[in-house]
Symmetry: C2
Subunit: 384 residues, 2 copies
C-alpha cells in the first residue's frame, strides 16, 4: 500500500503520527504551506525543503483555470512542473468555486460558474474534479464538496452537507474507475480524502463524519467549512464532535486553518494536518508571527531595532537580518522584504506543529500548549 498512517503517541485527543505517501513521509501534526498556483507565494521549493516542510498544498480550481491541468499533465505532472519532490495535496476547488467564481449555479449534477480570470463558463462535477486531480498527479486529492458560509442556518447547512456526502460517493466511484485504468505502479499513487461538512451544527457534523466513515476505507479525512466566519469556540466544538466519530487510525486534515492559536487548539482536538494562506499573505503585507504575538514590521518603532523578528526563531531571516533591515525593505518596496516575512511566517507554523508533536511525544502537551498560548497572547495587543 502506497499510503499508511501510524500513530506514535497520543495525548488526550492529540496525536503524533507519520503519514506515508508515495512522495515521502509526513510527521504529523504538520502544517502544509499553500502553493495555490503551483508556487508557495514568494518562496522557492528549496526554501521549503530547508525549513523542513514535508507536504504542500495546491489548488485544483486555480490550476485548472491557469495554466490548465492538461498542460501540467503534458509536462509531467505537478511535482515535476513546480520542482517539488515531496507529497502534494490539492484542494478540490469547492471552496474556490463558492468564494471566487461568479454566477455560480448549483445542481445535484455539479456547479456551473464563471472563471474569476476571464469570465469563461465552466462546469465542475465530482467526476470532472477527480479528472483534474488525476491530471495533476498529486498524492492526495480532496473530494469536490459544497461549501457554505460558516454561520449558515441548519437547513442550508444540511442541504450542503448531504450533497457533499453524495458527491463524496460519486468522487469515490470516479476515482476508483480512473485508478483502475492507470497502469501498474501508477495505480495506487493517489489517495482521495472525503470532506466532513455540516457548518456549526453538531448533529450535522456527527452525521457527516459517520456517513463518510462507513462509506469506505478512506486513506484520510478532510474537515471543511470551518474558519469561514464562525466564532472560534464553535469551530473548536465541531472539532471535538468530529474527533469522536472519525476513525482514530486515519489522518484528519483541517482545511484552511490556520493561525497559530487555531493550530494549537485543533491539535489538542485530534487534527493532524493544516494549511493556510495566512503566513504568506500576512508576510506580503508586513505582518510577522512571533512567539510574543504578531508584529507589523512597517511600524516606525522598528526603524532602528537591531533584533531579529522573533527572538527565538531559527529561520534564515531571523538568523541573519534585523527588524530595522526588514522594515527598510518594506518601506523601500523591495521584494526581499515580503520574501523574508513569508519565509519566517511559514517557518513559524512549521516549527509550531513540530513543537506540538514533540510535546505530545514527551507527554507535556497540556503544559506546553497552555504556556505557548499565554505567551503568544500576552503581548499581542501591545506589539501590534
Amino acid at each position: 500500500m502506497s499510503f499508511t498512517f501510524s500513530l506514535h503517541s497520543t495525548a488526550g485527543s492529540a496525536r503524533a503520527g507519520v503519514f506515508v505517501t508515495p512522495h515521502g513521509a509526513v510527521e504529523t501534526p504538520a502544517f502544509m504551506p499553500v502553493g495555490t498556483l503551483a508556487t508557495v507565494k514568494a518562496l522557492d521549493p528549496m526554501d521549503l525543503t530547508a525549513m523542513g516542510a514535508s507536504m504542500i498544498l495546491s489548488n485544483s480550481y486555480h490550476l485548472h483555470l491557469r495554466p490548465g491541468d492538461e498542460l501540467i499533465r503534458e509536462l509531467g505532472g505537478l511535482h515535476r512542473f513546480m520542482g517539488w519532490t515531496g507529497p502534494i495535496l490539492t484542494d478540490s476547488g469547492g471552496f474556490q468555486v463558492f468564494s471566487l467564481a461568479t454566477l455560480c449555479t448549483i445542481s445535484e449534477e455539479g456547479v456551473e460558474f464563471q472563471s474569476h480570470i476571464d469570465g469563461s463558463r465552466r462546469f465542475f462535477t465530482p467526476e470532472s474534479v477527480m479528472e483534474i486531480g488525476r491530471n495533476l498527479g498529486v498524492d492526495v486529492v480532496m473530494q469536490f464538496d459544497h461549501v457554505i458560509p460558516g454561520q449558515s442556518e441548519e437547513a442550508p447547512a444540511r442541504d450542503a452537507s448531504e450533497r457533499s456526502i453524495r458527491w463524496a460517493a460519486r468522487c469515490l466511484t470516479a476515482f476508483a474507475e480512473s485508478a483502475e485504468k492507470a497502469e501498474g505502479a501508477e495505480r495506487n499513487r493517489q489517495a482521495l480524502f472525503p470532506i466532513v461538512q455540516g457548518g456549526i451544527h453538531e448533529g450535522l457534523r456527527r452525521e457527516a463524519a459517520s456517513a463518510l466513515s462507513s462509506m469506505s476505507e478512506w486513506v484520510g479525512f478532510g474537515i471543511g467549512g470551518l474558519s469561514v466566519g464562525e466564532e472560534k469556540p464553535a469551530m473548536y466544538e465541531m472539532l471535538e464532535v468530529v474527533d469522536a466519530v472519525l476513525p482514530a487510525n486515519r489522518p484528519r486534515y483541517l482545511m484552511g486553518v490556520g493561525f497559530p492559536e487555531d493550530i494549537v487548539e485543533a491539535i489538542r482536538r485530534g487534527v493532524d494536518l493544516f494549511d493556510c494562506v495566512a503566513p504568506t499573505r500576512m508576510g506580503r503585507n508586513g505582518a510577522a508571527f512571533t512567539i510574543d504575538g504578531r508584529i507589523n514590521i512597517k511600524r516606525a518603532e522598528f526603524r532602528n531595532d537591531p533584533r531579529p523578528l522573533d527572538p527565538e526563531c531559527t529561520c534564515s531571516a531571523c538568523s541573519r537580518f534585523s527588524r530595522a533591515y526588514i522594515r527598510h525593505l518594506f518601506v523601500a518596496d523591495e521584494i526581499l522584504g515580503l520574501r523574508l516575512l513569508s519565509l519566517h511566517n511559514v517557518h513559524f507554523l512549521l516549527s509550531l506543529a513540530r513543537a506540538a508533536r514533540q510535546a505530545i511525544t514527551a507527554g507535556s502537551l497540556d503544559a506546553w500548549s497552555r504556556d505557548w498560548l499565554t505567551r503568544y497572547h500576552s503581548r499581542n495587543e501591545t506589539s501590534r
Copy 2:
C-alpha cells in the same frame, strides 16, 4: 595594505587578475550585482553567494535618502545591515543626482537637489559624499562626480570632466582626513576610486585619465559617463583611449555596464569590473539572457516548452524549472517568476565574466569572444 591587485594573465588589453579587499578577494574580470537599496532586487545574499558573486554594488545616494547612512552606521555598517559578508562598492550618487533628483543646481562647491522620495532639499559635496561612504563602511567608495548625457558636446563635457577631476582631489583630501581619524584596524578598510569622465571626446578622456593617474596612487579607477546614450562604437573607442593611459596595475571599473555583449567588448579593452541593473530589471519584466540571445518568457510560444531558459546554464532556475513553468509564474503574476529570472540573469553575467577570465588565462580570448558574440547575436532577433 588591505587592498591589492595582481595580474595573473593578459591577452592584448584584456586582463585576468585578483583584486583583494578587506572583505575578500575578487577574481577579475568580474560582474558586480547591483544592490541599490541594500538588496539585489528579488535576490537574497545567499543566492549571490551560491552563484559565486564575490563583490556587489550599492548606492550612496539611495541609502542616504532611505534608510539613511547614519542609521546604517548605527546598525553596524552596510555589510552587517544587509547580511553580505563580501566586498561592497558604493557608487557616489553622481549619476543619481543628475538623473533622478529634480531642481538640481550645480556649483563648484557641490550640487543642491530635491530628493526623488520626498522632495526634501539636499546638498551633496565631495566631502559630504565621502562622509556617507564612511558611514556605510563599504570597501570601495567612488568619488562624487559630475555626470552628463552621453552625447554631450565637447564644451559641457570638458566643464563636467574638469570639475570631476577637481572634485576627485577634494574627495581624496576628505577621504584621507577621515581615514586618519579612524582607529587602528579601521583606518585602511576603505579605498577611494576616482572616476574618469570626458564624454565621448577622446582628448578629454585622455586628459582625465592622465590627470587622475598623476594625482595619487589610487587603489583603482572608475570609468564613468559611458552607456548613457552614446553609440556603442564610441564607448568602445573611449575604453581604448583610457586603457592606454591608466596604470596597468590597478583595477578599472566600467560603471553601469552592462549587457552581455558590452561586457565581452569591454573586457577585450582592459576593463576589470562591471555593474548593471539590467539583469534584475529585465528579470522583473520577463526577459532572460540566453547563450542564444535574449528571450521574453511571457511569449505564448513558451506555454508548453519543457526546456530550461538557457540550454547551457547551470543556475538553480535552469537546473530545476522549465520555460513553461516560469512563463506560468509570470502570467499568474507570481513573485517566484521574477525572482527566478533575476537569479538566472545575474548568474548569466557572473558566468560570462568567469568564462572570459578563463579564456584570457587559456590564451584563447580572441576565439572565445568571437564565437560567443556570434552565437549570442545569431538568434537574437528570431527568439525575441
